[in-house]
Symmetry: C2
Subunit: 311 residues, 2 copies
């Protein structure tokens, strides 16, 4: 396909009649849906975030979009538009290109996001950069990492450890819709839960992309508080038996938030209606840093606290 | 530098106190400035859009941002925020990383844009994906490629051919601020001229990234009209003597627009005050396609009409 044919394919694949000006012009034009716009960018590269040699390419597109949307969930924002830049190896086949586009479209449509534009460039290796735009009614309706208060509970959505487990099951030829790999291939950004937590008065929120402990550290640092997490309380994914592994499992795309005790029961109930769960895993106190403790309150030592591409 | 140190460097480099929520959280939060949001994404890859081996890395960052902002200019939008995802080779040195960031910051600040977020990932080759967000007072204040009307004039800002000429002068060790290379290393997105052309009632507008003829073809196709361009009228850059070369010179980042005759004099005058020029190069008529004609009105044949990464 020529570049024009590829763009035509994408325009059809990502059809979006509600855009004021859609794909194919210099820029997309949208009507902002609220008083503040919430925007995030997430990029993935072959060999770093996925292995094209063993991944179905549909999953590469799906996950890149879902992971980016997870950042909107972590702000409590309502999803709006997404823009995808892609570096495509010249040897990428047409069916692979179409499956990549289909994965992007499927992830967007699963969350009600609009693919509003992007760019295609030739590249030595496959990479995607996904910009997601969301909306919130007002600046104080957005939940940052910096608002945790001593006395709040620490809560997580869903379960942990499933992503690390799924990663170990990926092998060449595996199907994009293999349910054992859903946590890796078709993660669900917790947009509804994020909106509920924001409306419930969550003090701070982040999505678990680098592992519970590492991301808890981000909240502790940004909020200038201490977080104590109880190992025995971590909600473990099916067939996951090691809570320490679950505490450092990255790419979970679950939400980690701090919440006043008084808001817990209602948040649990309404989040259950969105198809996931909310679990109390610890508490916020004065101080600094993250402590992981066992059932007796004794601190558990953990070596690897997160993931840094450049360390 | 660790990833955290790199992000800290960028946060300082792109300081933006007017953000509601700034760099370092899951997403940036901004107050939309008008009734519609205008967004575009542009990506560049080492070996395709620039050669790191012979380019000052400051110019890589500067040009990527300027080229992306040029798409906002082409819509007549006011500049807002930019988000930059970068794929960084592990061997990139700290001074090079800082110069790359400085180039991004310099281009943003030259246009009054705010660097509001982004993502850094490891990559086998250097690439940048720049998302630019602009604002317009209303949907009909935005100029697309699709509104050219028969009878309108075809106008361009600035001069043409300088970009192709500068490209031939790039060699290892050349300075980022070499004035002969400004058209390649530090192009000026025509944001003020774009806003003036939009306010003047331009029917269609595009920025010249793939060459005048190719981009004129985009307007003709999107507007369902014919464009006739007069070779002798093309405004040639200094030391450029070949108008045919100027007609296919890409990455000019000048604006190509169609404009009612009645709006020309005022647009010329106000654009002159922004430090560039406006030149009539042809006219719009019924029909299809782009014709390039000589002083006698005889069609000139051109082989190469644009640039397609995948053809």
């Amino acid at each position: 396909m020529s570049e024009r044919e590829r763009i035509k394919h994408l325009t059809e694949c990502f059809a979006a009649p509600q855009l004021v000006v859609g794909n194919g012009d210099d820029a997309a034009v949208v009507r902002p849906g609220g008083a503040v716009t919430v925007t995030s960018v997430d990029a993935v590269v072959d060999g770093i975030h996925f292995e094209l040699a063993s991944w179905p390419i549909h999953a590469v597109g799906y996950k890149a979009v879902a992971a980016a949307l997870s950042d909107l969930a972590a702000m409590g924002a309502a999803v709006g538009e997404i823009y995808v830049a892609a570096g495509l190896p010249r040897e990428l086949s047409e069916p692979d290109f179409e499956q990549l586009a289909r994965g992007i479209a499927d992830a967007a449509s699963a969350s009600g996001a609009l693919v509003a534009g992007g760019d295609l460039v030739a590249s030595g290796q496959l990479w995607l950069s996904v910009t997601v735009v969301g909306h919130a009614a007002a600046a104080d309706a957005v939940v940052t990492r910096g608002g945790a208060q001593p006395g709040e509970l620490v809560v997580v959505t869903g379960t942990l450890g499933g992503s690390a487990r799924a990663l170990g099951l990926i092998e060449p030829g595996v199907a994009a819709d293999d349910v054992r790999l859903a946590k890796q291939f078709t993660p669900t950004p917790r947009l509804a839960a994020g909106a509920i937590l924001a409306a419930s008065g969550a003090g701070a929120m982040i999505d678990i992309s680098d592992g519970l402990l590492g991301d808890a550290g981000q909240i502790a640092r940004a909020s200038d508080v201490a977080l104590t997490l109880e190992l025995a309380r971590l909600p473990l994914a099916a067939e996951v038996t090691d809570p320490l592994g679950a505490a450092v499992s990255g790419e979970e795309y679950e939400l980690l938030a701090t919440l006043p005790q008084s808001a817990l029961a209602e948040a649990e109930r309404t989040i259950a209606a969105t198809g996931t769960t909310l679990t109390v895993v610890g508490r916020v106190s004065g101080g600094a840093g993250v402590r992981l403790v066992d059932a007796e309150g004794v601190e558990v030592e953990v070596e690897r606290r997160g993931f840094d591409h450049f360390d």
